[in-house]
Symmetry: C2
Subunit: 172 residues, 2 copies
C-alpha cells in the first residue's frame, strides 16, 4: 500500500487505502499555496510555529487562485481573517492510530492535527494582508505547508461560528 | 448543468461544474451526522443558530463513525471541543458569485460561508458531550446540517492554531 514505509511500530492501519477509493466525491483544486517551505523537513509543525518563524525571518506567503475561480474573491477584502483549507497531497491516508514523534504513546487520528488522515485536509486561520482580485492573489501572514500545496477553499473566519460555545467568556 | 435551477439573477457561474470533475482526489466518507433537521427548509443558517434552537427545544446530535475508522477515536475524550468537517452533498458547486437572500448585493463565494462552493465542505466547532469508541458515536452539543450528511473529518479544536493571531488580546 502507498505509504506503508511511513508506518511506525505501534501504529494501526486501515484494511484499505482511502487514497485508492473509487467512489466518494472529488475535490477540485481552486489554486495553490505559495510558502517559504520547499521540503517537508523545513515545514513548521503548525500555523502557530510558522507564524513565529516567518515573522522572525521576514518571510511571506500567499494564496494563488486559478482564473475561473477569481470572481469568488469579490467582497473578501472586508474580512481580516480567513480559514484556508488545503489538500496535503504528500500525506499517507491509511494510518488510523498514530505515534507522533513529539508525543508519548499512540493516538487515534481524530485526536490529532496530523496531515496523515483519511481525508488529508489541513485548515489554518490566517490574517489577510492584501488581495489582488484580477491576479487571484491573497497575501497572508503565515502558512505551515509545502510551497505548491493544492488549495481547496477560503472562507471568512467568524467568531460567532468558529469559537467554541462559551469559550470566550469561560461560562460553559 | 446540475443545479442551474438554483441560480438567481445577478449570480455568476463557473464555465464548468466541479461536481462533474474527472480529476482531483476523492474524499472518503468516514461516517455520517445525526441531526434533528430532516429537510433543507428546517436547517438552521449556521452552528450558532443551531445551538440556540437545539438548547431551547432539547434536541440532540451525534457523529457516527464507520467501523474501520473507529480506532481513530482513541484519546479523543481528552478534548472538549472538536472541529467537524462534513460534505454538503445536496449543494450546487458552480455558483462563484452569489446573492444570499439574507444579504444585500452579490458576493464572491470565498467571502461567504454558504454550503454552495467549489468544494462543498462545511466546518463547525462543537462541544463533545460523550464518546462511545466501540459503537463509533460522538455525542455533540449542536450541528446545523441535514440528518445523514456525510462526515469527512473530526479533529481537536486548538486555540493556539484556530484562533486568529492577536484576536484574543486585541493586540494586532
Amino acid at each position: 500500500m502507498a505509504g506503508d514505509d511511513q508506518v511506525r511500530e505501534g501504529e494501526i492501519t486501515l484494511p484499505f487505502d482511502p487514497g485508492a477509493a473509487t467512489d466518494g466525491p472529488r475535490c477540485v483544486f481552486i489554486g495553490h499555496v505559495q510558502s517559504p517551505w520547499k521540503s517537508r523537513a523545513e515545514c513548521p509543525r503548525n500555523i502557530s510555529q510558522a507564524r513565529g518563524r516567518m515573522e522572525r525571518e521576514g518571510l511571506t506567503a500567499a494564496l494563488h487562485i486559478r482564473e475561473p475561480y477569481r470572481p469568488g474573491l469579490r467582497e473578501l477584502a472586508q474580512f481580516r481573517h480567513v480559514i484556508v483549507l488545503y489538500w496535503m497531497h504528500e500525506a499517507a491516508r491509511h494510518i488510523i492510530v498514530q505515534r507522533p514523534r513529539h508525543m508519548p504513546g499512540a493516538r487515534g487520528v481524530f485526536s490529532l492535527r496530523s496531515p496523515v488522515r483519511p481525508n488529508p485536509i489541513a485548515l489554518s486561520t490566517v490574517r489577510v494582508l492584501e488581495i489582488d482580485e484580477a491576479a487571484g492573489v491573497i497575501g497572508i501572514d503565515a502558512i505551515d505547508c509545502l510551497d505548491g500545496t493544492p488549495l481547496i477553499d477560503v472562507r471568512p473566519w467568524n467568531p460567532e461560528i468558529d469559537m467554541p460555545p462559551g469559550w470566550r467568556s469561560g461560562e460553559e
